[in-house]
Symmetry: C2
Subunit: 498 residues, 2 copies
């Protein structure tokens, strides 16, 4: 009952067992950083996702769908994706930083708030950059933000090393503490240094600034992808045993699973609720309209918005079930490697795009001849969001010894069930996409059918998987009754109740 | 290191110490509910707060500020407050429910998602009710939502009691399990039953429905307030020792402190970030405007929005620092009683109103003759949000033995510091409000001065409190050098370093 991710939520208050030690700390103003980190995760996930709103608020009407609207939409999608990526980089850096700084006091909490405030300003600089690509002000402001964030983080590092009891116990007791500090400061200040150069160039030759900015944003991803490819080619990575790197103990370690979960939860929660806001603001009919157009019948007036509600429920169900799949997946994951973190980020970026799918489906009524396109875009977004989840699972299976709980490994009791859970959305969306090619006239019906069928499939999944496995075993038994050994090997897949 | 609120965040992955026991559970598809509850908290806090957006999006210009706009604004504020209160009630019921149901499996997770989806629909029914008060459709839909939520929750209870290993261990091992079930079902279905009657009345005599709805929303608050008043009058409440109530062991218990923190964090996070969205959507100038009005100077175009940015930073700082005070307060709280939960809700409702304060301050430029009103409204919102935080602290002090860590009690080392931290915002906002009465011409300057000064005051607070206490002691020492005993009694207030 004492693991980090499983505090006993029931019965509320009995959490103060180690009161002695904790209270001593609290008395000196030193605090465990858990709650501050959750709050930071919530803030960062909201900032990462919130730029999808300008995309969904872009008014598209069939008559006006000219080049300027297309450009505006592309611009906004670009802002969304850039914001998402840079905030994820900032989040990962934040995670690393607070893996080094284990405890906080008031000063660190306030410095962290200052850091968060600067990060919330990043989306605005992107908006400026994309709207005025030839004016260097946007990139200059962006660089200033990154430099400020770097400065605040460096301040946090210097402060924490000045009061070593705030550090992670392993570093606190290390004899190479000064080396650690130097190394961590180097990591924290690498991006800001690049941005400093970029800010300088922005004043007289801004294209180079954009290049440097792209380096800052994509370098972490590129290095992750390359290390993953290397890992795939060379085989399971051995821990680097260079004597030079003795002091980087957790800087190349995987991200904290708890914080990956908290960040993902934030993204799912904000995406799920962004939609109801649109409903509440836009779908309450005007009293005058009701009186004039619908002869006072509110039900008739609301029925105009029917498709919106249907799309809302469909979209909420999709986000909710993708969260459910993510939740089930991470329940069986022991630790999240860097490549899994990268895949998770990509999955979340597409989850953030789901309000766009909602927007598309609720626009069916207004522009019927576009519905085929809309359904396909929606299916593509759902497919990409879910296939990256599936990829997390396959990546985890590559090193299943380290990354998965025994029951989810090959041959484990939950393996087949897990597979079915994660494969459901990719299959369903792919199927829906394919059917629209053959039955383009019924594309809307197909899409709605998918949205209604998938939740029921999830409810009945355990049953279906058992049935499927039983059938499989029965067929194997009929085909090769001799190979009893092989059947036995599959027996653990079949739960006892089957 | 094993308390619920202080999982070790550093070094990521070592969280699987009790792998054996947990993995056994995971293999059966049974999961600890921690992450699902965090996700629900995030969803509910966002839903509670998001209805402030229609309020802030109400366009107010000095010429048009007539009765219809006033009515619209009042309507939207009413929707916000009602949504906030009902979602808080739903959240408290959810907390209670999952204090009984200790573990979850896939079915319960899916049922919980269905419950969340229905709750997200509540704000819309309020919007309908307030826009069309004479049409009973809004209240009918509201009742249907509450009945659906009740039905899903009842299903959760029945399911959990059918598989008792999902229950809280204390209930699981209890001999009165059937009685528990009956009692909990009663609690879960009380509200829906009232709503069923209300739905019936809405079809022919809707005013009664509103009355019943008000009962559902306010009954929990009224009963909390009355029990708190009773507690104040009669003295510290003794645990009810009736033999009849042996089975309600944790239904009258305080709320889980962890979930109060998670819900509050969600509200603070969404309020802090709602503002940047407005900035990003509305404050990027139009390229054509820049060319025509500002002769291509982006800096000049942006300087028009200067006050918006100032207001944004001021508002983020206010929300951040209120979170900081809340965080410090709950660090010293051992358990949250019902009255503290109520005060926390009220504080959060006003925190949710802070974007309104931002809206008011950023509107200064457009309507200079209204700035006095705006500053006063902002000060009032900040004052109310912070004074309710302060009230949580005073309520906790009433039963300090149960509710507070020793260091925060009277005479404890952190007591004076805690007091200063929580009193800072009420004092500052009251001071700013009072100064606007005498120096009404400088009201904007006063407000901005407050917003800039308070963060620095927080940074230097520990120093200031020590100085103040040292001065106090010195003065006492000069005045009554004889009463050494009294001075000794205050000595613990002075940290050793002072």
């Amino acid at each position: 009952m004492s693991g980090p991710q499983t505090p006993e939520p029931a019965l509320g208050i009995q959490g103060d067992a180690p009161t002695g030690a904790r209270d001593e700390d609290a008395a000196d103003g030193i605090q465990h950083s858990h709650r501050m980190l959750s709050f930071s995760d919530a803030l960062l996930s909201i900032i990462a996702t919130v730029m999808i709103l300008p995309v969904t608020h872009t008014e598209i009407s069939p008559e006006q769908f000219d080049k300027s609207i297309q450009k505006l939409l592309a611009t906004r999608i670009a802002v969304y994706l850039m914001t998402f990526l840079i905030v994820t980089v900032a989040w990962a850096a934040h995670t690393r930083l607070f893996q080094v700084v284990g405890k906080i006091d008031d000063t660190l909490a306030l410095l962290n708030l200052a850091c968060m405030m600067t990060i919330t300003f990043l989306p605005f600089t992107f908006s400026l950059m994309v709207t005025f690509p030839e004016v260097p002000l946007g990139i200059f402001l962006f660089c200033m933000c990154v430099i400020t964030i770097g400065a605040v983080q460096a301040l946090i590092v210097v402060y924490a090393f000045h009061f070593p009891h705030l550090l992670n116990p392993q570093i606190e007791s290390s004899t190479h503490r000064a080396l650690y500090r130097q190394h961590i400061l180097g990591i924290v200040l690498r991006g800001p240094a690049l941005c400093f150069v970029a800010a300088g160039f922005s004043l007289f030759f801004y294209p180079l600034s954009y290049l440097l900015m792209a380096t800052v944003i994509f370098l972490p991803y590129v290095s992750k992808v390359s290390s993953w490819c290397k890992g795939r080619l060379v085989g399971p990575q051995e821990p680097p045993a260079h004597s030079m790197e003795f002091f980087t103990f957790d800087l190349h370690e995987p991200l904290s699973k708890e914080r990956v979960e908290a960040f993902s939860d934030g993204v799912y929660a904000i995406v799920a609720t962004l939609l109801i806001l649109d409903i509440c603001e836009d779908n309450v009919p005007d009293p005058r309209d009701v009186k004039e157009k619908f002869h006072g019948s509110l039900v008739a007036a609301l029925s105009v918005y029917g498709p919106h509600f249907l799309a809302y429920f469909g979209s909420f169900a999709t986000v909710g079930l993708l969260w459910f799949a993510h939740h089930s997946l991470f329940l069986h994951i022991r630790k999240a490697t860097q490549s899994m973190g990268l895949l998770n980020t990509l999955s979340l970026a597409f989850v953030g795009g789901l309000p766009l799918a909602y927007q598309q489906t609720s626009a069916f009524v207004r522009q019927p001849h576009d519905e085929l396109e809309s359904v396909r875009v929606s299916c593509a977004i759902i497919f990409l969001a879910s296939i990256f989840q599936f990829a997390i699972w396959t990546t985890a299976l590559l090193h299943e010894g380290e990354t998965l709980q025994p029951s989810a490994r090959f041959g484990g009791r939950e393996h087949a069930f897990m597979f079915a859970k994660l494969a459901l959305y990719p299959c369903a969306s792919l199927l829906a996409f394919a059917s629209t090619c053959f039955l383009s006239r019924f594309s809307t019906a197909i899409f709605h059918l998918m949205q209604i069928a998938v939740p029921f499939a999830f409810l009945l999944l355990r049953l279906l998987v058992r049935l499927g496995l039983a059938l499989l075993c029965a067929m194997r038994g009929l085909a090769q009754p001799a190979t009893q050994a092989e059947e036995d090997a599959h027996a653990p897949l079949l739960p006892a109740a089957c």
